[in-house]
Symmetry: C2
Subunit: 232 residues, 2 copies
């Protein structure tokens, strides 16, 4: 009797190995050994290694909302949709921290590796990014007139994804989280400036210089790594 269903165990192990080593660098034999499974089982559930990769990507897509997007909302200390955006980036930052800045976004990594080949996989990556961006856009739209009316919410959402992926890439290359923080920090400043400008437009703000932080973190005792993370 197995701890988990074989298919599920193969998927979990393959996802982890693909993320750590990449797709081409991970041999089928390695997957079989790590999952404690013989090739007959693997090829019973998956027609090929590429098919396995597609299944892994589908899994990532299925888990995007419950494990990433919804979690970002839960992690937010306020219900400010703008904070949800940065809370989402915080989810990735946490993964970066616990892995020693070696783990990034598995989908982003594979996006660049498999590139044009394997159209089926590329479609899944495309949809993954699409869902990601749509959620961020919804949050931005939920911010209403706190952002300038003329602002293109979709473009900014794509911008946020770019900052996230690019920041993860830099931190992984230098094995330092500072680069991710710097990129995200600049993004936060930009958004804060947009909010200030919007308030200025509305006549609420006399002096545009006093761009206030998005979240009023008046609690004098910042929790664990919260301090470092906020210290932009």
């Amino acid at each position: 009797m197995m701890a988990k269903h074989t298919k599920e165990r193969i998927l979990t192990v393959a996802a982890q190995l693909f993320e750590e080593q990449g797709y081409h660098a991970t041999g089928v034999a390695t997957i079989l050994r790590a999952a404690g499974v013989k090739s007959g089982s693997l090829y019973h559930f998956f027609s090929s290694k590429e098919d396995l990769l597609a299944a892994v990507m589908q899994r990532h897509l299925d888990q995007l909302r419950p494990m990433i997007l919804d979690r970002a909302v839960q992690d937010s200390v306020t219900e400010d949709p703008l904070e949800h955006v940065f809370s989402l980036l915080g989810v990735y930052r946490r993964g970066l921290l616990i892995s020693g800045s070696t783990r990034g976004c598995p989908v982003g990594n594979l996006a660049l590796e498999v590139g044009g080949a394997m159209p089926r996989v590329r479609k899944l990556i495309e949809e993954y990014f699409s869902v990601w961006v749509s959620q961020v856009r919804d949050w931005l739209e939920a911010a209403g007139d706190r952002l300038p009316a003329s602002l293109d919410r979709t473009a900014l959402a794509r911008h946020v994804l770019a900052v996230a992926q690019g920041g993860l890439m830099q931190s992984r290359a230098a094995e330092s989280i500072e680069l991710f923080d710097a990129s995200v920090g600049s993004l936060r400043s930009s958004v804060e400036l947009l909010v200030a400008r919007s308030r200025y437009e509305a006549g609420e703000l006399r002096d545009v210089l006093v761009a206030e932080p998005l979240t009023s973190d008046e609690s004098g005792a910042p929790g664990e790594d919260q301090f470092e993370w906020r210290a932009w």
Copy 2:
């Protein structure tokens, strides 16, 4: 008699193949065939496939300044250092265009693929990004008080790199240049807003709403793709 020195031809072909297919997906036999060379020659100049990759990365590093950074300055229609930043992004955009949105930054792609393995290669990637960011930071610093004094130039430079890499990744995943443009467009808006804020601080600007474009493109006839590229 060979058209080019064997070593140089191997490097060129390998760089192209690594960029198109990735490192692990490119077999040595493929490189040999494409370069019209036998294995004896390759292993005379390079001790291993990994050594060849390191040489390719070194080449990218050597060509970063003359082929990318300096070229961005040449492409700029003005001497505004802030425009140089976006001209640099334009260099990558051009590569994206001529390849049908399949080619990005070769260094960025390999950065995510080889990841932690091959420390020698990782060091080169790290240095590549470091030089890149330093140049952008210098441009930002050259902008002087056109940017707010409190602005962290290094952080913003890293932010620019993140936007570039993340934008390239999205465009490659969706095989559409729109996503790159959206990310860069938001970046441009942010920088324009920073400039406006700086002018406001200096008392030059009465109304912060009239954030002017960075480049005064008063010519009514935008060149070829210049129009599309500027149409954010």
